[in-house]
Amino acid sequence: MEIILDVTDLHIEFHDHDVPEVAVEDFDLMLGKGEIVGIVGESGSGKSMSALAIAGLLNRKSLKKSGRIMFDGNDLLTCDRKTLRSYQGDEISIIFQEPMTSLNPVKKIGWQVEEPLFIHHPEVTKPERKEKAIGMLKAVGLENAEDVYNMYPHELSGGMRQRVMIAAAMIGDPKILIADEPTTALDVTVQAQIVELLKRFNKERKTSIIFISHDLSLVNQLCQRVIVMQHGNIVESGKTSDVFTHPRDIYTKRLIAAIPRIDLNT
């Protein structure tokens, strides 16, 4: 399998207070083309931090980062901003936990979905952009795509907004899609639809996905490999089926034991 992303020894430290706080330590991740890797762990385990670092969104001065994030022959941690930006939204996309606030409230949906094209492919004309955006909105399951194109975020439900986020993330046909707890804020039926949508994109477009969640059953459904994190460290990683059936680490065992099960016999 072709490796498209290689993260080694990623280390992230906060310097907001007198004592530096370690958010992520010795994080390694190899992502193959068309692969879905899950990162699980409780809040504060460093899983979102790692994802934001890969997406190039940790630019605060109070953060110290080291290690390497190799993509397309460049180290995303050390390459210049311009190179990083040329990947963002085009080769590497990200969707977030909060679809309610992740869209700009005063811009139309169509405008926001088209934006990555506008930034990265100025050669695409306006009518072509619109056509592509509407096609994308249809692809994420918004049936009245032409209407949605002219709507504002507040006119859509949470699930619809997350679909819009996915449409905007996928419009540039990225190599990597990072999904940072994309279903946490949604209700269960919508969760399943979003997961199905990600699966479909992965299959049809060979998009590699980094799926971050604290929901182990979702990770089990979706991911080929899984990384378990605790306190900024990777405690276990491997094929999802192996990790779930034979967890080696005590923390992983506890996480798996905590999955709620419906037992019809009792």
Binding site: A55, G56, L57, N59, R81, R85, S86, Y87, Q88, G89, D90, S93, I94, F96, E98, T101, S102, L103, N104, P105, V106, K107, E115, P116, I119, H120, Y152, H154, E155, M165, A168
Partner: protein, 314 residues
């Protein structure tokens, strides 16, 4: 469209309420206008006759109706003191005061928005800190005092204008504007300082929101995030403030006209108040009220254009 019609209806209602208040206030205030006109020496018969002539003996509602219809037709009554129609006294002065207020407003917008963006963009930098210190000082200086300072510095030291001089707009419009520049600046200065501070804070807040992070994730650079995403959101509270500031500037120009010796509406207003020349005072108050309410109406419409969420929440 429905929104605009509703807001327009609200505007008309507010104007009517204001007109009732203004009219009633001057009906209740003690003092007989007829007696004032004729002087205390006048015979009771003559006073009574004048009262009849002026229609002061009619019921309040009739007098209000007459005043309102007259006002709408452009007839604001007759000045008690000068025995001339109020409209002839006021209408020629309104453009002076209004021009000054509008100039002050334009100065505020043109100066404060770029400064707000610069300070927010370089938050914590030297430029930001210098501007914020200057801001703090300017905010604390009342317009009449900055008016005196401006007259001293630009009028007497640099001789950019003649203190106390004035050219009417009917004579030479460009010189009229030039004379009004420094008074307008004096009115604008504290508003500029406040707007800069507000826009800066608003921009900094908005750029930390989730949608700004989304914008970065799509490959926007700092300017892209600022101008394409954050600015419009950050302007929403600033627009409200600017609307209030414009209304305040119209009222604030009264003091500044005194400082710079500009024969605008304030001179008539002040003499009319001390002479109890109520028709003139009523007309000016109504004029200011109309401007304030009209500005509010415009702000509501601009608001709706900037923020698509407005109007649906109600």
């Amino acid at each position: 469209m429905k929104y605009i019609i509703r807001k327009f209806g609200m505007m008309i209602t507010t104007l009517l309420v204001v007109s009732v208040c203004v009219f009633l206030a001057f009906s209740i205030i003690p003092g007989d206008p007829a007696l004032r006109m004729l002087g205390t020496e006048a015979s009771p018969e003559l006073v009574e006759q004048t009262r009849q002539q002026m229609g002061l003996n009619d019921p309040v509602l009739v007098r209000y109706g007459r005043w309102l219809t007259g006002f709408l037709a452009g007839d604001m009554g007759t000045s008690y003191n000068y025995k001339v129609p109020v409209s002839s006294m006021v209408l020629s002065k309104i453009p002076i005061t209004l021009t000054m207020a509008i100039m002050a407003f334009l100065l505020t917008v043109l100066i404060s928005i770029p400064l707000g963006i610069i300070t927010a963009k370089h938050e914590g930098g030297i430029l930001d800190r210098c501007i914020m210190v200057a801001n703090q000082i300017i905010m604390a200086i009342p317009p009449f005092f900055s008016g005196i300072l401006l007259t001293f510095v630009f009028g007497m030291i640099f001789r950019l204008f003649t203190p106390g001089g004035f050219v009417n707009y009917t004579d030479d419009f460009s010189r009229f504007i030039r004379y009004l520049f420094f008074p307008a600046l004096a009115i604008a200065l504290p508003k500029i300082a406040m707007t800069v501070k507000m826009l800066r804070g608003s921009l900094i807040d908005e750029s930390q929101r989730d949608y700004a992070r989304t914008a970065y994730s799509r490959g926007n650079n700092t300017n892209g995030v600022l101008y394409r995403h954050v600015l419009k959101n950050a302007m929403i509270p600033v627009i409200t403030f600017l609307g209030m500031a414009l209304a305040d500037m119209v009222a604030g120009s009264i003091v500044i006209e005194q400082v710079f010796g500009i024969p605008g509406i304030s001179r008539i207003l002040l003499t009319s108040i001390s002479n109890r020349d109520y028709p003139v005072v009523e007309a000016i108050i109504m004029g200011i009220a109309i401007i304030v309410i009209l500005v509010n109406f415009l702000v509501d419409i601009i608001y709706r254009i900037v923020d698509p969420r407005i109007g649906l929440k109600e």
